[in-house]
């Protein structure tokens, strides 16, 4: 995989290049900077991880790139998405990028999906908008989208989100994100809200789809083990700043920043516990549960 990444990276202009990105709350003298000067780029097919605790600014970074910051927050610096500057861009400029240029999978599928709309209709929405599909063609595309995320039963399209399991809901969210065939996928803690047993399935699905389509991936998580599995390059965020960056291998081998070292040590301790203990599975479950709770 890393070979493939190298090839694509050299191929042409990056999908996304972020330079000195800032996010601040409020204005004037009272303004507080929540993200300070973050820079990175993602080439086609490349996978980059953002790792950090809750409040480190990793989600804000991703939202700022697509102009989706909540009211009251403003972005500064520069972010080129598919060659278009998105910081300070108007809604009319951003709208065509959202979907084809960048797709999002959010943390909590239960709230990220419209509770009152059948999931098939929610998948159909970006298909209609970006691929201009209608009628029978649209129905077929919805069924294909469902099949792609391993939801073969066509009756699922008629289900409401609350009628599905957490894993099924997140698959629907992935199907929506992929419907407009984005070149870059942002996965923001996509498995944190899920049961441990389901996490692996969803991660596997994401991994396969990203590889098949040659998409770029921006993977956001607080969990080093998951980020290491999904990505090749990582930025470690703390208090809104990138404290360390590099390949996953370098980071794990020789962490420079004390916070990174702490993350690595924590992951190693977990590994050791898993290797050593006969009932290691439940220990890992407890630990992830705690992390997820802290993040939420």
């Amino acid at each position: 995989m890393s070979v493939q990444v190298g090839e694509r990276e050299s191929a042409g202009a990056p999908l996304l290049s972020v330079d000195g990105l800032t996010v601040s709350a409020g204005d004037g003298a009272e303004a507080a900077e929540l993200v300070r000067g973050i820079s990175f780029s993602i080439a086609a097919g490349e996978r980059v991880g953002l790792i950090g605790e809750s409040g480190s600014g990793k989600s804000l970074t991703a939202l700022a790139i697509a102009g989706l910051l909540p009211a009251g927050l403003t972005a500064g610096g520069s972010a080129l998405l598919g060659g278009v500057e998105t910081i300070g861009a108007s809604e009319a400029e951003l709208r065509p990028l959202r979907g084809p240029a960048i797709g999002f999978v959010f943390q909590e599928p239960l709230t990220a999906l419209d509770p009152l709309m059948r999931v098939g209709k929610q998948i159909a929405e970006p298909l209609r908008r970006h691929r201009r599909l209608r009628g029978a063609e649209l129905d077929r595309a919805v069924a294909e989208s469902l099949a792609e995320v391993r939801l073969e039963d066509p009756r699922l399209a008629r289900a409401y989100p609350h009628e599905l399991s957490g894993g099924q809901r997140q698959r629907i969210a992935i199907a929506i994100a992929l419907a407009a065939r984005p070149k870059l996928l942002v996965a923001d803690e996509p498995t944190t809200a899920l049961d441990v047993t389901v996490q692996a399935e969803v991660l596997g699905l994401l991994d396969r789809l990203v590889a098949e389509r040659g998409m770029g991936l921006l993977f956001i998580s607080h969990d080093l083990a998951v980020v290491a599995q999904q990505t090749s390059r990582v930025l470690v965020l703390r208090g809104g700043e990138a404290v360390e960056r590099g390949t996953v291998a370098d980071l794990v081998r020789a962490p420079q920043h004390p916070y990174t070292a702490q993350l690595v040590a924590h992951a190693r301790a977990l590994d050791a516990a898993l290797d050593g203990a006969a009932d290691g599975g439940s220990a890992a479950e407890d630990d992830r549960g705690r992390d997820a709770g802290g993040d939420a």
């Binding site: 709350a25 409020g26 009272e30 009251g72």
Partner: protein
């Protein structure tokens, strides 16, 4: 941002207290001093506002300001009286439901749902229907009408406390039900209940004004604001002040208690306070 919000919340509470304070002050002054006696008709019919009669006179020549001042007293009496009655009845029913067996709790709450579907004013009209009109029966009628709303909120709040672990702990250590009510339930439901009571106070004042306007409230010489409006309605062209001033008085008092309720709501709900300022 957060500082501005907390400032505006405190400002709301203060503004509310100031508005209510004006009405209370006027009511207190009216007890010891009025510009003219209520039955003094020396001012002449419908005279315009002047130095002698700041708000003019009504169609019988009575001083409008004096009547308005007495009206403040009545409005406050109605608000306090009916809220006290509604609280005593409502909280008692709510607490009984919260501690009762499930079937009784369910029946009470179903009954309350039916009762709440009826606007307080309709219930009050039903109750005053066959009473000789008096301020007392209006207060009683409005208090009874509002008790269902308070009972429902008291029940929900009390159930939350009763289901909590510290009450279970108190129970297992042998505290009696009344002790639990006094020591745990009442102190815990009081802050949120206070918000409801403040809002109901405003609703009671409006309901009494409506009753009086319809001629079902306190009979003369009780100068209820609602009755003043009813009397001034026919002469609105000749003496507009008479049809405007009592309405403004009503709005000042009701808006004031609503502002106080808003201020109390934020004080009563620490999670909301924290979330807002975050």
């Amino acid at each position: 941002m957060s500082r501005r919000r907390s400032w505006s919340r405190r400002a709301t509470l203060r503004l509310g207290l100031a508005l209510v304070g004006i009405v209370v002050l006027v009511a207190l002054v009216s007890l010891v001093w009025l510009p003219y006696a209520l039955d003094d008709t020396s001012g002449g019919r419908l005279s315009a506002p002047s130095a002698e009669h700041l708000l003019g006179t009504d169609k019988l020549g009575r001083d409008l300001l004096s009547q308005l001042m007495v009206g403040a007293r009545i409005a406050l009496l109605v608000g306090i009286g009916s809220v006290v009655i509604a609280t005593i009845i409502g909280v008692t029913i709510g607490l009984i439901a919260a501690f009762a067996a499930p079937w009784l709790d369910d029946s009470i709450s179903a009954l309350l749902d039916v009762a709440i579907a009826f606007p307080v004013l309709l219930t009050a009209m039903l109750i005053v229907a066959l009473q000789p009109p008096s301020l007392g029966s209006a207060i009683l009628a409005i208090g009874l009408g509002m008790s269902a709303v308070i009972a429902r909120i008291a029940r929900i709040l009390a159930k939350r406390v009763v289901g909590s672990q510290y009450v279970t702990a108190a129970r297992t250590s042998g505290t009696r039900t009344l002790g639990i009510v006094r020591r745990h339930v009442l102190p815990n439901i009081a802050p949120t209940l206070a918000v409801t009571l403040a809002l109901q106070f405003g609703a009671a004042v409006l309901a009494e004004a409506s009753l009086s306007y319809l001629g079902l409230g306190a009979p003369p010489p009780n100068a209820s604001w609602g009755r003043l409006l009813q009397e001034a309605q026919g002469t609105v062209l000749e003496a507009p002040v008479g049809a405007i001033a009592p309405g403004i008085a009503l709005v000042v008092l009701v808006l004031g208690v609503n502002f106080v309720a808003d201020g109390l709501r934020d004080a009563a709900d620490p999670t909301r306070r924290r979330r807002r300022s975050a």
